[in-house]
Each structure stands twice: as C-alpha cells, then as structure tokens.
Symmetry: C3
Subunit: 171 residues, 3 copies
C-alpha cells in the first residue's frame, strides 16, 4: 500500500515528540544543577505533578518540589552534574508518553568537603498540553552511591558505599 | 528537482532506523547493568553473533556470551552503570549498519570493597531482521581504567591505573 | 490547513540538521580524546573559528587551537574521555545553529600519577557550509573540578577541588 502524506506526517510528528521529550528531561537536569528553579518548575505540569524520588520527600505538586529544592540546594561551593543516558521514550497516546533513563550524578561540596557519585534510573510520565511536553510523574531510584569525605590534607575517605539495602552501607 | 513522497519516506526511514539502533544499544547496556540476561540475549542475532570485548573471553554466539555474563555477573552488592556516548551510526545497506560509541562505566563491588571507573569504545555491526535491529558484532576496547580498593576504615587505594600497555599498570 | 510535501521536507530537514550537529560535536570530543588532530581541525570552520575555553589560551583560528592541543596533548599514558550530555540544539537560521551541552570529562595521567574529573558547559555556534556543519565558536566553562594525585603506594590525595572561585580551591 502506498505511503501517504498523512502517514509520513504521523511518523515525523512522533519523532519530533520524542526529541521534545528528551530535551524537556535534559532541561530539567541542566537547570537543577544550576538551581534555576523557575526553569525547573516549568518542566512539570502546573497541577498534580507527582515527584517520587529516593532520598527526597515525596511531592504531589511542583510547588512542593520547588520548596524542597530551595531548602536543600543552592549551597555555595556545591557543584553538580546530572547526565541522562540510555533513553527509552515511548509515546503511549496522542498526548502521553513514558520514559526510562539511566542517570549519572556527580557532586562536589566544597564547604563540607564531600564528593558524591550516584547512579539511578528515572521512570517518568510525560504529558502534552498546548503543544508543549511536561513531566507529569517523576520516579527515581538509586542504583549505586559513593560518597567520600576529603580531609584537610586532601586524603579521601569513603563514607557511603553501595546502596541502602547492602549490609555494609555506610561503613 | 522536486522532492517526492518516496524521497521523504526514505529519509525518514533512515532516521527511524538510526533511532532504533541507538535504543537497541542502550537496551543492551541498561539490561547488562541489571543482569537481565533474557533482555541482553534478545539484543543479539540468534545465530553467529560475534562478541569480542577486551577483558571478556571471545564469544561466537550469543548463548556463549550469556554464559560468560551468568558466570561473572549477578554478584550481590555489585552495582554498575554503563552509559553510551558520542554515537556515530551509519547505515551501510538496506539492512545493515555500523556504530561507534564512547562508553563510560562505573562499578561498585560492596562485597570485595572495590570501585571501578572504565572508559572504552564500542565498534558494532547491526543487522535488521523482520523489522527489528540486532547486534551482529560487538567489539570493545578499553581507553582508560581506574580500580580502587576501599579499606575497612574507608581509605581508598588505587590498585589499577591506566591501561594494560602502560608500564605502570597495576602499580 | 493541509500539510504539504514542502512543509514535511522542511521539518525533516530541521531534524537532519540537528542530528548532524550532534554528530559533529561528538566527533570533536571523540577525536580530541584520541589526539586525532586532523579530525579535530575538520570540525571547525576554516577561517575565523573562535575557541574560548576556560583553562585554554583563547584562539581565533582553528590552526592556533590545533597548536595548543599539539603542545599540551598526546602525552604517553594520558587517557581521557569527554562525553556530551543534555544537548539543546536550536536552528537560528537557514545555515546557523546554537547549541548548549553539559560535558563530563575524566582523565588519567599515568606518568604524573594524576586523575581528573571535570564537568562544564559548552555554548557553541555552528554554521552550515556546502552541506556540512562546522563549529564556528566554541565557549566552555567549568562547572566542577576534582584532581587527585596517586602516591607510589596507590593512596590518592585530592589536590584540586571545586572551582577557581571557591575559596578553598587548591586546598
């Protein structure tokens, strides 16, 4: 059966949506690292966003999440990088999508002389409203964690190692 | 010369193939990190997959590779992340493709108190069968390696450093 | 209003351009890590490329930049990986584009027994000439830095930590 213009447009639109969702999620990480909270807020749906992340109090609204970020972030001398990897974005309807990402995180806390290396996975739901994609649900689980403290002479010491359910965690 | 519907479809199909290959390779890494061996198996062609990876016994069939992964993986308290970066995917025929990736790997072995940081490159051949892409050949070379052991008091010590052809390797 | 073939082609061409720009930037990082300087040179416009990167003398031509790389790179036993993350590519005209990337870098200097972990952001301008994209301007700022020296017995010590404007930098 011959391809039609409408077929091609549907396929192209699907690719554009997936690209827009990847950019949305990247924008979230990019702005969280810079404590740009207005830009973070705008990544989530206005009402009823669910943010359920290991290590973070659960939030049922983007404003709650922004409050958590405000209370915990923006520390002088704290530098971080989130990277999103191995993305799998699936369009689940005309205006809904689901995404799985492997995330890598490094953080350096100069004030408290700590370094962080974290990996985890995001399993997020996205929704299209007025031609823009938003995060509807953000779920995060850690898959590895390594925290080191740096003594005055520069000597590092591992203070957290593995995952909470490893028996030697925090040894 | 005016573009035709057939021209556009060919260009769109090429982009869809490249996206599918990226997702295939990401699925491999995502599932290797979780020791989901059925999902790993399904990334490779059923017969005659060549897996030639530095640090891994060479395999000429996906079942051999799965046996290697089964024998070496799934250790309790071992946590890892593979990320695929800087992808270059080239369609080399109607149902074949070649890909080069820079990979980054971190591993934490809580039981043996070791941490790993590895980089390397994958040069893979992909094949399309019944509308699905598979890995036909997977070649991996290390480009850097750093292994540390963590003493009981948390003090790290570098035990492997550089690459096998550096003279100070394993100092 | 019905979509036309010309509309679809314009949308598809935009996606192809963005994919080509991502591949160009990845090619830059991939080849810098391998000190493949001819391939690095070919990523930049022939005349008037501006390279303004924190920690690197500013260059107003790709040949100047290649000289800097030649003078500082290619050290035996130096192994590195650059990864490009969270890309935002915007087409700003028929033959111009702007891109923001979060970059992650690890380096291992076996000779001087140093390890590097760096993050930063690239804000680059791209230009299309004869159907190929080139980097016109490359601006890089560090967002975190961690350098460790490795003693003969393998003990690491943090020698640089944070960013130049943190008061404890180089403690």
């Amino acid at each position: 059966m011959a391809t039609t213009l409408a077929d091609l447009e549907a396929r192209l639109t699907a690719m554009e949506h997936i690209a827009a969702i990847k950019e949305l999620q990247s924008r979230y990480w990019h702005n969280v690292d810079r404590q740009k909270l207005d830009d973070v807020r705008n990544c989530f749906v206005e009402i009823g966003a669910v943010i359920d992340m290991q290590g973070v109090p659960p939030c049922n609204d983007r404003e709650d999440f922004i409050k958590v970020l405000k209370a915990n972030g923006g520390k002088p001398g704290f530098h971080s990088l989130h990277t999103g990897n191995n993305p799998f974005i699936t369009l689940t309807g005309p205006d809904t999508a689901y995404g799985v990402w492997d995330a890598f995180f490094i953080g350096i806390d100069v004030g408290d002389r700590l370094t962080y290396q974290l990996s985890g996975e995001y399993k997020n739901n996205y929704v299209l409203k007025d031609d823009r994609w938003y995060i509807q649900t953000q779920r995060f689980l850690q898959t590895s964690l390594l925290v080191q403290s740096i003594a005055e002479d520069g000597s590092p010491k591992v203070v957290t190692f593995g995952l909470p359910d490893d028996s030697v965690f925090d040894k």
